[in-house]
């Protein structure tokens, strides 16, 4: 059977890889990287934000025992019956599927040098470039090795000239937040990486600096400086510039040279290469699985009654020229086009619209919103509920988007990832988790339809 997946982020890639593993002939159409490529290294299934107003708690309020991530996932689904987790796990519990999904993801990414660290039995604490703590159940290689527990001493590595990392302020924040969660017993310090002259200019450009570290020349020049940073029992936390290509093993080299544990700090928008690495590793996994990848945009979807027959493609980029390409037939279509960053939902002529199929859109509370303007769906409290940022398509339990009548619009079309409605990944910290779980499920459902 032929399947077309639109969108190459974690959701689309998961769907495509599942389909491929079930013997389907898969074409993945991707216009450009999206939210996945902008993620910063943690894989949030239902991550706790105990230090944030309205965030998921770390511990059970009644017993005081730490909550397992799975339990938090249940809580998310219970609190919002329209959440994708509620849809996915209404009939079957998440425990098995989440374990399988994580194992599958790890297997897909491992050949590229990226692994999934952590477990779903226990939350770990990571630190970010601002010194803030992230409760991360799962995290990718780079930041994933930076579990704060089990380190007697923590040292932040100052890289002179590198923008985006104010080390003294980060130390202060880290100290305060560690005290707030009971990790205060560790010593904190700053160590400075003595950059040789030749590398100083490059430090101003994080991506270029990271790439240089993948190569022997820079490593040779830094050998002594890195070795000087190490100390027994110490965990070195470095700004997220340890290489661009995970397969080059820069973090491992750094750790080995320093002679103690070393990991990256979790990034922020201005300084995060983790998403870039994840995006490339997913692309490599798709190639290995024999998925045909096309850089392009879906111009039109061919429909016959309640079935999708195929898609018509165009060059990536804004719609400007009429498409002149042949139709790509398919037996199943998976939409993983994202929300605003990915372009799965856009505002045109002052109205929100799902551009490929004109599917009805629903906000956080489940109200139909596709004839409304974006600025009508925002509320005054930035940290509170924002209907706009929870907008997406509603689906049935098999992840088939619903039409205006509340029934699945097509028999063989499925949706996954940020395109799904009624959840706000920024606020509830479930973004990549929903992408992975709904992407795999969409692939499984598509293979079976």
């Amino acid at each position: 059977m032929k399947a077309v997946v639109v969108g190459g982020g974690l959701a689309g890639s998961s769907a495509a890889l599942e389909l491929a593993s079930r013997g389907a002939e898969v074409t993945l159409v991707c216009a450009a990287p999206g939210a996945t490529a902008l993620s910063w290294g943690t894989l949030d299934v239902a991550a706790a934000s105990p230090l944030r107003r309205g965030g998921l708690p770390l511990r059970d309020p009644a017993s005081g025992h730490p909550l397992a991530p799975i339990v938090r996932l249940h809580a998310v689904a219970a609190a919002n019956p329209a959440h994708p987790y509620a849809t996915l796990f209404r009939e079957r519990g998440p425990e098995e599927e989440v374990k399988e999904a994580v194992a599958a993801l790890d297997a897909w990414l491992a050949p590229s040098g990226l692994r999934v660290h952590g477990s779903l039995a226990q939350t770990r604490w990571l630190a970010d470039v601002h010194g803030a703590l992230r409760a991360a159940d799962l995290a990718f290689s780079g930041a994933g090795e930076g579990d704060l527990e089990g380190a007697e001493e923590i040292a932040l590595v100052d890289v002179p000239g590198l923008p985006g990392f104010e080390v003294r302020s980060a130390l202060r924040t880290l100290a305060a937040e560690m005290a707030a969660v009971g990790l205060a017993s560790r010593a904190l310090s700053i160590v400075r990486l003595a950059l040789p002259e030749a590398l100083r200019d490059d430090a101003a450009q994080p991506a270029r600096f990271a790439r240089n570290l993948d190569a022997d020349a820079a490593r040779g020049a830094l050998q002594d400086a890195v070795a000087a940073l190490g100390a027994e029992g110490r965990l070195l936390l470095v700004p997220p510039v340890l290489g661009l290509d995970p397969a080059a093993g820069t973090r491992a080299w750094f750790e080995a040279t320093a002679g103690c544990r070393a990991a990256e700090l979790v990034g922020a928008p201005a300084l995060s290469l983790a998403g870039f690495r994840l995006d490339r590793a997913l692309g490599a996994a798709l190639s290995r699985a024999g998925v045909e990848r096309i850089a392009g945009r879906v111009e039109r979807v061919e429909i016959e009654g309640v079935r999708v027959r195929g898609v018509q493609l165009a060059e990536p980029g804004p719609p400007s020229r009429p498409a002149d390409t042949a139709m790509l037939p398919c037996d199943a279509l998976v939409l993983a086009t994202g929300r605003f960053v990915g372009g799965g939902i856009v505002e045109r002529g002052g109205q929100l619209v799902e551009p490929l199929l004109g599917l009805p859109l629903h906000d956080l509370a489940g109200r139909r919103v596709d004839s409304l303007a974006a600025n009508q769906l925002v509320r005054g409290d930035y940290e509170g509920e924002q209907p706009l940022f929870g907008t997406g398509v509603r689906t049935d339990m098999r992840l088939r988007p619903l039409g205006p009548d509340g029934l699945p619009r097509f028999a063989n079309c499925f949706a996954a990832g940020d395109l799904l409605g009624s959840f706000d990944p920024a606020r509830d910290r479930t973004g990549l988790g929903v992408a992975l779980l709904s992407g795999r499920r969409a692939g499984i459902e598509a293979a079976a339809c």
């Binding site: 939210a35 590198l162 100083r200 928008p269 929300r339 303007a373 005054g380 910290r429």
Partner: protein, 549 residues
């Protein structure tokens, strides 16, 4: 007993008028105290159109207003050449316009006679083809067009420059300090100062003064009422839309559905569209543009620039004009005149109020007010504000040499020049002193959109008295670009925390206040291609740097 400061003059209100008065007094050697509730110019001044225009529309009613505006515009150019930039205008005339092109041109020919006072250029007349060549974005329906010359200014920096000059010349200048109550002589008579509260650390203290000036802008009635005096204003709210970058090279006139004149004009890094004028009855401290205002402005602009809706609006700017009271008139027709009132006649001798006016005339207004205050004090010094340069305004900056010396990108130095003029070298020298001073470490970029360097942030904290992260929006244009702070605020607050010794909890508070302010400006106009950026913004602040509760 609370600590006490004694000065001849207390000026309450750090907008362009208050700052201008403080500076004028300082130049005359009269020591004063200037207190501002938030950040300099954060009330009305920063939200103005940011133009020191000559007042073309007053030619009909009162040419003297135009003359004074043009002369004063010339003065501002002399004292702060680094803060201003030319904005050429184009006025399209459409077949359905009520006023024909010949009349428009007569008006412009009259205005031409005033242009020399402000180094302005004469108008030109363009045929339809020429107009479309000069500005292709114009609506092709126009019958002809005219060009016109005006000057733009960074109003927030102009206000801050006045306040800083006053401080450098001996004035006591305090931000985030509010007036709790006026001090009266026993017997309820003369106003002799005020009790102040520092809004950041809560400390209260007293300022005793011989005369007091209420320069609170739209807050003038509230401050006057504290002294039992009534000052009537008709506050008029005005908004602008800010685009992500320039949408046209020239400023383009547009007419609203109700006939009001508006424009889309290039300003600093962007274009702005506005403005509105509506009687305001709401909360001055939590101003927000409404969807209606946004729609009104876009509708007007569409007439002159049909493609305007394709452009990305990042946020709005909003402020309330302290317009003098007038009954029965439309907001637009109210006088832009100003008044300096001596409240001796209202039973509060020692208290003066300044209200009304416009940004372009601030220096004249300040001089007039300072004259009145000096008369009351018996001081006979003449004003010098028209001839003494503001900080950074005493020459031209050599951009290339400075960029080379400090190993800073030229683009960054250009922007610094617009804010700090000749003091740019001093700014760049203020970068992180904890780093090895071997010349190989250069100032780092904190905000890519502007760009803002860590050196500039350190400078405004250590030498310009910046006390809060939100001050930086006005002082160095932090977070007003494409990313609205998503990529830079984390680092900006870290630089400030370093310099001001903020705790981690304080940092969170500052970031929260900053984001709150940004959101109020972004939400009303959110749409189109700005949605993706705000999605990232939200991830950055909620899923990323988690706020502690």
């Amino acid at each position: 007993m609370s600590p006490c400061i004694r000065v001849p003059v207390l000026v309450v209100g750090g907008g362009i008028n208050g700052a201008g008065i403080a500076r004028d007094l300082a130049l005359r050697g009269v020591r004063c105290a200037l207190v501002e509730r938030r950040e300099f110019g954060s009330g009305t001044s920063w939200a103005s159109s940011g133009m020191i225009h000559g007042g073309l529309r007053y030619l009909q009613k009162d040419p003297d207003v135009t003359l004074h505006s043009c002369v004063d515009s010339g003065a501002i150019q002399r004292i702060a050449p680094h803060l201003i930039f030319r904005i050429p205008f184009v006025m399209p005339v459409f077949p359905e316009d009520p006023i024909g092109p010949e009349l428009v041109e007569i008006g412009l020919e009259m205005y031409d006679q005033y242009q020399p006072f402000k180094n302005g250029r004469s108008h030109t007349r363009l045929s339809r083809a020429e107009a479309l060549r000069l500005e292709p974005a114009l609506s092709p329906r126009l019958e002809c067009a005219f060009t016109l010359d005006e000057w733009g200014v960074d109003a927030a920096r102009l206000t801050a420059a006045n306040a800083l000059d006053a401080a450098e010349r001996g004035a006591v200048v305090l931000t985030h300090t509010e007036l709790v109550e006026w001090l009266r002589e026993p017997g309820g008579g003369r106003v002799v100062g005020g009790r102040m509260r520092d809004r950041i650390n809560g400390e209260e203290f007293v300022i005793e003064a011989d005369v007091c000036m209420n320069a609170g802008g739209p807050w003038v009635p509230k401050l006057a009422a504290l002294a039992g005096v009534e000052v009537r204003l008709r506050p008029g709210k005005g908004i602008h839309l800010v685009f992500e970058r320039r949408v046209s090279n020239l400023a383009v006139y547009a007419r609203g559905v109700d006939g009001r004149d508006m424009f889309t004009f290039p300003h600093e890094q962007n274009s702005m569209a506005g403005t509105t004028d509506d009687d305001f009855y709401g909360d001055l401290d939590r101003l927000e543009a409404t969807e209606d205002e946004v729609a009104y402005v876009l509708q007007a602009m569409e007439r002159s620039i049909p493609s305007i809706r394709r452009h990305r609006v990042t946020h709005t700017i909003q402020g309330v004009r302290p317009t003098l009271w007038g009954f029965g008139k439309n907001e637009d027709e109210l006088s832009r005149d100003y008044v300096v009132v001596d409240h001796a006649r209202d039973g509060a001798p020692g208290l003066f109020t300044i209200a009304g006016g416009k940004l372009a005339a601030y220096r004249l207004m300040a001089e007039d007010a300072a004259d009145r205050l000096c008369t009351a004090l018996g001081v006979r010094e003449p004003g010098r504000s028209a001839t003494t340069p503001l900080p950074g305004g005493d020459g031209a900056l050599d951009v290339l040499a400075t960029a080379k010396r400090f190993r800073t990108p030229v683009a960054a130095v250009v922007r610094l020049g617009f804010r700090h003029g000749t003091r740019t070298s001093q700014v760049l020298a203020d970068h992180d002193t904890d780093l090895p001073m071997d010349g190989a470490t250069a100032p780092r970029v904190v905000c890519a959109c502007e760009p803002v360097l860590d050196a500039e942030l350190r400078h405004v904290v250590t030498r310009e008295g910046v006390r809060r992260l939100t001050d930086c929006t006005l002082r160095v244009r932090l977070g007003v670009g494409a990313c609205q702070g998503a990529g830079c605020v984390g680092n900006a607050v870290a630089v400030l925390a370093d310099a001001l010794d903020w705790s981690a909890a304080r940092c969170v508070e500052e970031v929260r206040a900053f984001v709150d302010e940004r959101w109020r400006a972004v939400a009303p106009a959110l749409g189109g291609s700005h949605l993706a950026a705000m999605e990232i913004h939200r991830h950055s602040f909620l899923a990323g740097r988690g706020f502690t509760s």
